[in-house]
């Protein structure tokens, strides 16, 4: 599971601890192997696992993923949707706010704390700004939050949940059943960045490198 999504799932589990009537659906969009991620979510404690199955390994742009999630979520009427702040690999940070726009939910990103008031149909959040400042907001439910890393410490799966997850079937939905969206961007290529041309790598044994570094730092009057 994407590390950022673990924080989102953990936050959902904590909400359910406070409001035990909560049902948590864990959803992932991906090829066959994404089923294991959904199973992991069940093992952490989600009630239901939903896998929107992609027919191939092609990289999906955030909006394609968001459109699939929104199409499913539109029929479920969720009060609250939590997502990770970004994916660890492509680091786009787009899917959450896009799902909110497609569902017409208010949203907030990079959330560092939340306080849900279901009776008032409201959730208060603090989102992270630059330099450690935070912005406090109240959102009307239903709403979507992307959860910033560090908001909590994601738990390890409990054995009882792991056993249940093994026997519980996932809800698997083929993307073709949803009308797959077209891509609005295309990846022209992936490339390795140019090598570090301006960097002088020190050579020799570790003690020799230490000697060179100290000499350089003294020459530049840092030491």
């Amino acid at each position: 599971m994407n590390r950022y999504d673990e924080f989102a799932l953990e936050e959902a589990l904590r909400i359910r601890e406070v409001f035990p009537d909560t049902r948590i659906d864990a959803l992932s969009v991906g090829p066959e192997r994404a089923a294991r991620t959904v199973e992991r979510a069940l093992a952490m404690g989600a009630d239901e696992g939903i896998h929107i199955l992609l027919g191939d390994d092609r990289y999906r742009m955030p909006r394609e993923t968001a459109a699939l999630i929104a199409a499913y979520a539109a029929g479920e009427g969720y009060d609250l949707i939590l997502a990770g702040v970004m994916a660890e690999d492509d680091m786009q940070g787009q899917v959450g706010p896009m799902v909110a726009a497609l569902l017409d939910y208010p949203w907030s990103t990079a959330v560092m704390s939340q306080k849900l008031a279901p009776n008032d149909r409201r959730i208060d959040v603090e989102r992270e700004l630059e330099g450690g400042r935070r912005e406090a907001l109240a959102l009307a439910l239903p709403a979507l939050l992307t959860v910033q890393s560090g908001i909590n410490r994601p738990r390890y799966p409990a054995l009882s949940h792991v056993l249940r997850a093994r026997s519980q079937p996932l809800v698997t939905i083929d993307e073709k059943a949803i009308v797959p969206p077209e891509a609005w961007e295309s990846v022209v290529c992936l490339e390795e960045p140019a090598p570090a041309t301006s960097c002088t790598f020190l050579s020799g044994s570790a003690p020799e490198k230490a000697e060179q570094l100290v000499r350089r730092l003294r020459e530049k009057a840092f030491l």
Partner: protein, 338 residues
Amino acid sequence: MMDAQNRILVVAELHEGAVRPVTHETIAFARRLAGQEAGAIRIVVPGWHVRDVVCELADRTGIDAIALEAESLDPYNAETWRLALAALIRERGPSHICIPHTSRGCDFAPALAAGIGASCITAVEGICGERDSPTFVRSIFNGKMRMRVRANRGIAVLTVLPGAFPAESPPGPLPEKRKAGVEILRAPASHQRIRALGVLAAGEENLALALADTVVSAGRGIGGEENLALIRQLAGLFSKSAVGCSRTVCDRGWLGYGHQIGLTGKTVSPRLYIACGISGAAQHLAGMRRSKHVVAINTDPGAAIFRAADVGIVEDLTTFIPLVVARCRPRSGTPGDP
């Protein structure tokens, strides 16, 4: 509707009524994108009572600027910003909307794009190709790889990574420039499901980091909290030093968020920056790119941090740092690390 004179829209970001420097970086990006057609750029400042700032921005840049005003746009509100900008974009038909890749930009840009049917590319750090069909470069896998992306729609929303496009000097008004135009527009009222409750100051102010001549920074590669002692020892060799770190170090609880350097943390520009076990994700580089001299220590010779470094050392820092410390006589005084 496409107006050839109005192709690129820059969304400015203010902080406490003043233009944030990243706005000028985003303008520099827009100028690169516009090439010879510098007249193709417009700046928009969403907010309330922003006319003076808009005039100043137009004077300083020589670019026509728009004050997009409504009470509901101040303080920042994701929904009202999205709707006000969407209405402006529909009316003006720009081809590219350039937004700083900040906490705020990341909040509204993807939703704006989804709502208006625009391509969306975030954390852009380079432009390739022709003016007619540019491709945008962004980092993936913690800076190990880059992805070139092309927008397929008539409109593209782009967020511009801080630090990737240096703001153009001079910052003062140029005498020979033509007088840039200023427009004041009233944004339509919209319903509000998000209410701002105020901004909270940083929980743990770390002035030492901003004032330090030398910053020694720890990344996930330090391996464990117990190795922070090494980082502190190394910092202790330098006068006016401070300990910083990458986000994952804070997320693991090894150091408080007041030490975090990067997009969501502090931006530093010390004389010397020593990166220990830091992979060099674009998010971190954005916070230290302006350091004068950078030394990187990492076991992975392919780590992205080496591309931002002057001196690279491929070693395990748990063995290497003690070797450095042993060769120096520690100065009196302690690192400026709370």
